[in-house]
């Protein structure tokens, strides 16, 4: 990695960068929260994306009825509205993921501080 502050414990229990430590517990916490966020958005994305060909196959009002000039609902969605959907999803996902990173980072630091405090008490 770019700077050489990374130290990995031989046991594989924690990784330290400067004052910041990842433990397997804190990383699992990050992983589960991130997975929930990513897969929820992923489910919505694939549901909408695959609904378009599905509707193109089975719903005549979607693919054959003109709703504005020559636009069918199918053509309008694929040529225009789909991008609005993608922009909205990418924006909200990025913002939520950033917030999640921040929250989990703070929690990881608390876990680290608590563990360090316990360690010094024991000494």
């Amino acid at each position: 990695m770019g700077d050489s502050t990374m130290t990995a414990a031989d046991s594989g229990v924690q990784i330290q960068h400067g004052d910041h430590i990842d433990t397997i517990e804190s990383v699992d916490l990050v992983f589960r929260a991130q997975r929930k966020l990513s897969f929820t958005y992923g489910a919505v994305f694939f549901a909408v994306t695959l609904a378009i060909p599905a509707l193109s196959v089975w719903w005549k009002s979607w693919y054959a009825v003109q709703i504005w000039g020559g636009f069918t609902a199918n053509y309008l969605f694929v040529s225009l509205l789909y991008y609005v959907f993608l922009w909205g999803m990418a924006w909200t996902y990025s913002k939520q993921a950033d917030k999640l990173d921040e929250r989990l980072g703070e929690m990881a630091d608390v876990i680290t501080a608590t563990a360090a405090a316990k360690g010094s008490e024991t000494e």
Binding site: G12, H17, P53, Y63, G70, Y75, S79, Y83, A90, Y93
Partner: protein, 613 residues
């Protein structure tokens, strides 16, 4: 001779080379050469990723596909854009957090074996070659339209391929990733400018989107094809009718008289080709006419789903795009970059289908008014739809607009092939040479090997570009550029995406599982693509199991789940996780490194033009 247009293209080429020479002084280390020092900001990186991504397929191919196929062509644009959602949701930040240089590095770091690194390198090279082929084809066809002449005894097509391959090889070898990044940023904005100009000129000439769409959908789509006399006059075994008979149902008496004259002039040579217009079939709703605004011109129900999946999953399997995520300074920056990419390319992809639709009436009306164009045409339509952008530009804005569009087409090819050359060079130079052949090589020698790799792959791309017309692929597929790009997407989606998804999100993935998954996805996708090509060329029949698989336009609906299932089943049976799996997991999902960088302000974007120590 299109003098002004050629001067504009030469201007672009000179500027491109100048940028590379300028950035050369800032490329000292392999991190500079392959990753631009990991200091590319979100907006710049988004512009560069967009330039990297928007290839000849997007600039020439999407408009061409819409022009030829209507709604089924519009899907290319939507699918190309949708693919970035998969990247941002599942891959971008994890890949950047893991660090390293390449996808093969990720595979090695995650699973810890040389075997998986090497098969990933093979998959990177094959996917890149599949993606280079349409760029080279685009180079040849654009040169045909723009210059119309060859040099040193070569055809115009071959001359275009040679020029583009030579220039890209030079500027990538000289400028490395920093030079390529700078070029891609510039090339993307030139592309966007060119696309906006064409659409503005189209609206300026009286084009009205909803009305034009209604007009184009009044009568069924007409296919254009260049057929040999043998193909035109041989009766179909089932119906007893010839394609000549079908053409006669579409073309006017005067147009058919031209066909008859061409047949007579051939004097019995049945290999002579004649352009004809043919009726189209609705492959999705067989009882309906094939109208422009409805789906079904290219794809039946099965292919509608396969195509969508190929495009949205394929983006996450393109090595030159994935490599760019390592140039972000952090995981959050990687996400931000992707959002901006979606804004940029989304805007571009909204415009490209407008250009394709506008082209129908613009070309038809121009020809009907007695105008002439250099591109082959029949029944008021271009025989090669991929030529719609330059042809429309010439009609709407003369040589200036043709020059802007042609420079845009070359910019699209330069930026994408540049990214592919960097990806291929890093696969060979970084993943093979530095790891296995000479791990103790000096930085200067590593960079030199990278440059030699770039030149070698450029030579390979040149060979592929020259071979395409020799095998008749340009005649076997309508809108070949967009088609070939989806093949590359299919290979990438089948080989890499199952490994990346399981490697990032399932701790239980084993090395054997991932290796088997890559191999199965990669080779099954390539096998089906070649079966499809052979079927189109008439080498493989339409019967039996080979006929079934050969009929699959996009293999992803089979090969992606096949690769994924292989990984899951083999991993479950194997159960041999890496000994340091927890440590690996913390590298992928841990945030200590980013928190540390943030605390000390190290996550800020520096200058790409700082000299490495």
């Amino acid at each position: 001779m299109n003098t002004i247009a050629i001067i504009l293209v030469i201007g672009l080429i000179v500027f491109t080379i100048a940028l590379s020479i300028f950035s050369r002084r800032f490329t000292r280390t392999t991190a500079d050469f392959y990753l631009a020092g990991r200091k590319v900001g979100s907006f710049s990186n988004a512009s560069a990723i967009s330039g990297d991504y928007l290839s000849a397929a997007s600039f020439l191919g999407v408009a061409g596909a819409v022009y030829a196929s209507g709604l089924d062509g519009v899907w290319y644009a939507a699918g190309f854009a949708g693919g970035f959602m998969v990247v941002v949701l599942f891959i971008a930040s994890a890949l950047r957090r893991f660090g390293e240089y390449t996808v093969a590095d990720f595979a090695f770091g995650r699973f810890g074996s040389n075997r998986i690194r090497l098969i990933t390198v093979l998959a990177v090279l094959l996917t890149s070659l599949f993606y280079m082929a349409p760029q080279m084809f685009g180079a040849g066809t654009t040169w045909q339209v723009l210059v119309g002449k060859g040099f040193f005894g070569m055809t115009p097509y071959a001359s275009g391929v040679v020029v583009v391959a030579g220039i890209i090889a030079f500027y990538v070898a000289v400028g490395g990733m920093k030079g390529t990044t700078l070029n891609q940023i510039f090339q993307f904005w030139w592309l966007m400018f060119a696309m906006i100009m064409v659409v503005v000129f189209a609206f300026g000439s009286g084009f009205n989107y909803p009305s034009a769409l209604a007009e184009a959908s009044k009568t069924p789509i007409v296919n254009t094809k260049s057929l040999t006399i043998a193909e035109l006059t041989t009766p179909d075994a089932a119906t007893g009718k010839t394609l000549y008979d079908s053409a006669a149902t579409i073309m006017t008496t005067a147009e058919m008289a031209t066909v008859d004259e061409a047949i007579a002039a051939a004097a019995g040579d049945e290999k002579v080709k004649i352009a004809v217009a043919l009726p189209s079939k609705n492959k999705l709703h067989e009882l309906r006419d094939m109208l422009f605004a409805e789906p079904g011109h290219r794809y039946n129900a099965f292919d509608q789903f396969s195509m969508v999946l190929a495009l949205v999953l394929g983006t996450a399997g393109l090595p030159h795009i994935l490599n760019r995520y390592y140039t972000n300074p952090s995981g959050a920056a990687a996400r931000r970059s992707t959002f901006w990419v979606l804004v940029f390319i989304g805007t571009f992809y909204i415009l490209a289908p407008i250009a394709g639709l506008a082209g129908i009436s613009i070309i038809r009306d121009y020809l009907a008014g007695g105008g002439t164009i250099t591109a082959a045409n029949v029944h008021g339509l271009l025989v090669k739809p991929d030529q719609i952008m330059p042809m429309m530009a010439e009609i709407l804005g003369g040589q200036w607009l043709l020059g802007i569009v042609s420079a845009g087409a070359f910019a699209a090819m330069f930026s994408t092939v540049g990214g592919l050359l960097i990806a291929s060079a890093s696969a060979v130079g970084h993943d093979v040479y530095e790891k296995y052949i000479n791990p103790n090589a000096s930085e200067a020698k590593r960079v030199l090997v990278g440059k030699i790799s770039v030149l070698s792959f450029a030579a390979l791309a040149l060979g592929i570009g020259l071979a395409i017309p020799k095998f008749g692929l340009d005649q076997a597929y309508p809108a070949l550029i967009a088609m070939m790009v989806t093949w590359a997407f299919s290979v990438g989606a089948s080989a890499f995406v199952p490994m990346l998804l399981t490697g990032i999100w399932w701790k239980g993935t084993t090395e054997r599982g991932a290796t088997a998954g890559i191999a199965v996805g990669l080779f099954s996708a390539i096998a089906i693509i070649f079966l499809n090509i052979f079927q189109q060329l008439g080498i493989v029949g339409k019967e039996g199991i080979l006929g079934f698989f050969g009929a699959l336009t996009f293999p992803v609906l089979f090969t992606f789940p096949l690769g994924l299932l292989t990984i899951i089943i083999v991993s479950k049976i194997d159960g041999q996780l890496p000994k340091n799996v927890d440590e690996i997991w913390m590298r992928i999902h841990g945030t200590a490194h980013e928190r540390h960088e943030k605390q000390h302000g190290l996550d800020k974007v520096g200058s790409m033009f700082a000299k490495s120590k």
